[in-house]
Amino acid sequence: MKPPPFEYIKPSSIDEALVHLAEHGYDAKPLAGGQSLIPMMNFRLAQPAVLVDLNNIPELSFIRRDEQGGLSIGAMTRHYMVEHDLLVAERAPLVSEAMPHIATTQIRSRGTFGGSIAHADPSAELVAISVALDGRFQLRGQAGTREIDARDFFLGMFTTQVEPEELLVEIALPPMPPRTGWALKEISRRPHDFALVGVAALVTLNGRDQIEAARIVLFSVGDGPVIAEKAGDLLQDQPATQDLFRAAAEIAGTEDVDPSSDIHASSAYRRQLVKVLTRQALETALDRARESVN
């Protein structure tokens, strides 16, 4: 229950961090908030030879508006800052709704927005939400900067497009389309515990009060975030009715996911949760889309 020895490096800029990551390659791990990495080291599930601590790089911590009506969040912005930020509440309310579900107050004091995404835990809210909101991630290496869409970023459990010599530096969240409602629903056995199943949903209405588009992203049901495409297709260009939502939720739970069984929940139970939570999320998102003024 004690972490193995490692070499500790504390850079004060992104460029300096990248030098060390390039030098040590796969032997090094960036240390963000440490709320997943340090427990893994305490268990000796992770034994990096070098830790590059990102906690003294102020340029990685910010919440900024962009000109298109969205916002961008620095990778080292801590959860508690995002949780209470008014710009986030205004421009990415789905993120604000998710924050209290992320672990505990004590973890949110320390854990970071980018750290959660780069860790790519399939049960992480921010992983699913960044996909639901069509987020774009900026990765920086010594060779330059590249941008990747959230939906292409996650390769599998704890695996992403980030190369060992790269850093996730910024998350851009575009504005939601007009008349869009949002919802996040999840079930866990204890408050703040990992979700057994979670759903992030967006519903956009057209001028005739029909569903123009619906996006349903499920978490804790696979190796990464799962877009419920068949359910989303069923909803498109349809009048929003309870029967339709029930049918879409049924498809989400039967055709869009293939969850595994583990000590926490059976596959059948997870499918049932997908159906129930998807219907609830769609209903909440619809209500909010109808309330939205723009």
């Binding site: 972490p3 020895p5 440490g34 080291m41 601590d53 107050t105």
Partner: protein, 158 residues
């Protein structure tokens, strides 16, 4: 391969200089290097909350941070609250409302509550239960802890 690092840290308003191995957890540093054994170690993976301390005023898990990372920062532990002759108001409320049995979880709960009650001087029961949901107690069933927090809020107003 792991060299020692010079660490300058302020704990309970006292400044300390120590040389530490980078892998030393903040929780172990507080207990073994400084002898501040009020910070308890339960699970060492961020679940139980027993090791909660204030880091620049925010409640954190001291088992999920390396001591070397706290260089230049301010830590408050349960020793900063009161002593047996002169209990902190939250400690007095826990005493009066029987908010503890074995007491192992209590330091972490107290340190969680200090900023919570500052920010929420009139908490309702839901808010209290939410606030302590990151701290496990295996004795009390939480009921008397909730009572103690309500009492602490009352004491703070009188």
């Amino acid at each position: 391969m792991s060299d020692h690092y010079q660490l300058s840290i302020t704990v309970n308003d006292t400044q300390y200089q120590r040389e530490v191995d980078p892998r030393l957890l903040l929780s172990d540093f507080l207990r073994h290097e400084l002898g501040l054994t009020g910070t308890h170690i339960g699970c060492e993976h961020g679940v139980c909350g027993a090791c909660t301390v204030l880091y620049d005023g925010l409640p954190i898990r001291s088992c999920l941070m390396f001591a070397v990372q706290a260089d230049g920062h301010h830590i408050l532990t349960v020793e900063s609250l009161g002593n047996p002759e002169n209990l902190h108001v939250i400690q007095q409320a826990f005493w009066d409302a029987h908010g503890l049995q074995c007491g192992f979880c209590t330091p972490g709960i107290l340190m969680t509550l200090v900023p919570f009650l500052e920010n929420n001087p009139h908490p309702d029961e839901d808010q209290i239960r939410h606030a302590i949901s990151g701290n496990l107690c295996r004795c009390t069933g939480y009921q008397h802890i909730v009572d103690a927090v309500k009492l602490a809020a009352e004491y703070m107003h009188s």
